[in-house]
Symmetry: C2
Subunit: 507 residues, 2 copies
């Protein structure tokens, strides 16, 4: 159909396209069983998969083992979600001869799967944002054939995961072509351009995400592209919070920065603290109390890039090391890091903004010391574009909303909310709960599409589109829209006769 | 901030940006009162506005008067919708010490307005898709400051409507800058590029819609762009339906094609009928029974373009006139049309596809005569990209789903649904009910974003984005997420302890 695909890729895309009607026609229960079978199979293969993952990524056994569990849990959550059917937002407007604009026909609306989707997997979550990660789980739950582009950082693990998943899906009777794995960025780009592909998902860098988003938007028929890109996750800590629990904040911070060698899109990159506060000393003390082990970075490219960013930050005017940390390279070219925390005054942050504000992907974070009387809410738009998260640490008294600075804190919360997808209080942004209300997204460049989430049950909505049926005979309606509601999904019903009073309450 | 705006446009955008926090902070009830005040004021000014509209657009008094009513009704519907709050999709996940992946924090998710939005209004609905049309209603309901780019086809009406609306909004206490009107395509483009603008809406041609969508996607910070573009709305009529009610189908069809001089994005452009059926004769007979009046086309450019498309279609191989119709131009250059209906065999449709399949914006429609045994479902992807609607006319017996051709009809319904936003049965696609389950959208090029609708209550979702609050003290939560639920909105609550059984039913 396109003439640009290699024979191998052509057959991958053709298989996905051929599978689309059959996969869309599977019942919710059938898809749920298939997805749970994948989850169970991944947990059965955990020891084998984690061993490959440790070798390919340098992440620890504990981290990877927990990530397999997380991956299985989120697959199972999507199995329940897709059968529950609330995400279909099924609506039924009965025919209404008394409608305000003349006779209204019977109109019923549900959501249908988009068709084949390509998912570009991430380097830093070799399970949870990779071959059978959250994006893949929501794509399959939605009923869309899935093509995963493996990340070059863990090709062997990708193949091994794909083998487990493909067997489970086939065993559960899913159509051939429901799930396929490809390797190579160029192959991914060519598939993304193919007219049979109806959406893309991605987790990775701003540069690559932008490249792919531009390709998706400039196709003859543009498609949605859901990229989760970069974030520096600003944090604000009040003087009262530090007075109340400096040690607890310092150790939580250090754990959040150091975990997974800081290679997380939710790592707290900047912490605004009152100038002269004891928090920098508390961070140094927390570090001295229990030295953090050296951790391998994911791959040599990431390590070199982190080392460069770290050097640039340490060289900026007024930057002082609170915890020096470091990066060393072994004979194989792999980089090994210990956490670095630096401090800088707000004035020097302004001077060095260009060098300091860009994401440093690795275990480094910056304390910004802010003079009393600074308008904290104004710092968000001054320094940042969109972010995945923003955090505020308050004292117990401030949390009541009744302290003298309450209005200032409210303004800060509003300013944070205006630029992020998740606002945290008295916690740390790493560790994203997989749960119905989760929002993992945010304004550009945190994501390419801030109306969506890549974690939590709403993630399924990215791969569906609404379709209305007007005056459809029952026999030709999707199950979710039938009067008898055989699928048992939530149906929002608009009765006849209500339209004549629309708006009347507001006169 | 950008350096590219004229001083006048700079002040328009600056006012919208300045209004954003204050407008977002208005209560739902305050916004509802303001929107209902606009609806009431438009109806009070109806006679004056309709008079301007008739002169500028050539549409009839009955049509424009009905359109003012529709516009007022949809504003009032959005007033109720925004107070109801279901569109906020408020979710509360209580903290869960027994969560499958370790302790889950308290997470609560709602939707916040995007910020200033520009809406490019349409030529063919000078009220309902124009200054205070459906897009504007949903933008204001969402709490986003609105800049409308007036359509060049009705500038005076746009100014008059804006004056009425601005006075009503100011009278209801909305912030200065909540609503502004600008003129000129170049001005619209410059505003769309401004970083303070957070989304765009548009109703119009594929060419202009694509241009604007590409601008929105290629900004340094891309924004969502909701364009409703072109559609030819294929219709399929079975032999049994024709045998049952040829006359009724013919007259309904003719009314749908002729209404508003066919200048509707939902006009049925193609009707597939069995070769040798009596429907063409029935259409000619319906036409002969009551001559349709000549109707002025919206503007000389549209009229010239329609005349060219009509000539090309009539010149294509095998095309015969069922109703010849015509276009004439008056001394002022305005075009006046009577409806044209042509018929062509499926074979000749294939030969002339390039000339025939493109939208003819005006009162013209094509009957395609299909040999017995043709796979109807395959015609959708063979001839069409995305469409707003697709229609099937069945006999009463076929509607039971128990006739010999039921599987074939099911396949056709699935094929239609795969390419449209609304599937109709035994009706006509013009006349789009403004109601909760409505879906006015469809895959490219029907729209730039087929996950959304521009008619119906879901339209408000286009101008909101989700934000989650983690462990937020009650005092810092939006009203929709508080335990006491002072706003009285639907809240979906995930209790603690449920995660350990996720997926267990599907083993």
């Amino acid at each position: 159909m396109t003439g640009t695909l290699t024979p191998e890729l052509e057959s991958v895309v053709a298989r996905a396209a051929a599978a689309a009607p059959a996969f869309a026609a599977t019942s919710p229960e059938e898809r749920a069983r298939a997805i749970v079978a994948v989850a169970d199979a991944l947990e059965d293969a955990k020891a084998h998969l984690v061993e490959i993952g440790m070798r390919e990524t340098g992440l620890t056994e504990a981290r990877l083992s927990g990530e397999v569990t997380r991956t299985a849990v989120q697959l199972r959550l999507f199995a329940d979600t897709l059968v529950d059917g609330g995400y279909l937002d099924a609506r039924i407007d009965y025919a209404d001869s008394d409608f305000a604009l003349g006779v209204r026909p019977d109109i019923r609306r549900t959501h249908l799967p988009l068709g084949p989707v390509i998912n570009f997997s991430a380097s830093n979550f070799p399970f949870a944002f990779s071959v059978m990660g959250g994006d893949s789980a929501s794509i399959l739950a939605a009923g869309c054939p899935l093509i995963v582009k493996a990340h070059s950082g863990h090709p062997e693990l990708s193949d091994a995961t794909a083998e487990v998943a493909a067997a489970a899906l086939a065993g559960a009777g899913m159509p051939e072509g429901t799930f396929q794995l490809i390797h190579g960025r160029e192959a991914g780009v060519e598939v993304l351009k193919d007219p049979r592909i109806k959406a893309g998902a991605f987790t990775g860098s701003i540069a690559v995400g932008r490249l792919l988003a531009d390709i998706a938007a400039s196709r003859p028929a543009p498609i949605p592209f859901y990229g989760e890109l970069g974030s520096v996750n600003p944090v604000f800590v009040t003087a009262a919070a530090i007075a109340e629990r400096a040690g607890e904040i310092a150790s939580g911070y250090l754990t959040s920065v150091a975990g997974s060698a800081g290679q997380l899109c939710t790592k707290p990159g900047f912490v605004f603290v009152p100038a002269g506060s004891e928090l920098p000393d508390a961070v140094a003390a927390a570090h001295a109390a229990g030295e953090l082990p050296e951790h391998r970075l994911l791959d040599p490219r990431i390590a070199r890039s982190f080392a460069e960013r770290r050097d640039a930050i340490l060289a900026a005017q007024g930057v002082r090391a609170v915890i020096p940390g470091g990066v060393r390279f072994d004979d194989a070219g792999q980089g090994w890091a210990t956490p670095t925390v630096v401090a800088v005054s707000l004035d020097d942050f302004r001077v060095g903004k260009e060098a300091l504000v860009e994401e440093a992907f690795g275990p480094l974070s910056i304390l910004v010391e802010v003079p009393e009387g600074t308008d904290l809410a104004a710092l968000m738009p001054e320094f940042y574009e969109g972010n995945l998260t923003g955090t505020l640490h308050l004292s117990a008294e401030e949390a009541t909303g009744e302290t003298a600075n309450a209005a200032e804190l409210q303004a800060l919360v509003s300013a944070i909310a205006a630029q992020v997808g998740r606002v945290l209080f008295n916690g740390w942004s790493t560790g994203v709960a997989v749960t119905p209300a989760q929002q993992h997204g945010g304004p550009w460049p945190a994501t390419t599409n801030d109306a969506s989430t890549s974690v939590g049950t709403s993630a399924i909505k990215r791969f569906l589109r609404p379709v209305a049926y007007q005056n459809a005979p029952d026999a030709f309606l999707p199950a979710a829209l039938r009067d008898a509601n055989p699928a048992g999904v939530p149906q929002a019903i608009a009765p006849a006769g209500e339209s004549k009073s629309w708006g009347a309450r507001w006169r």
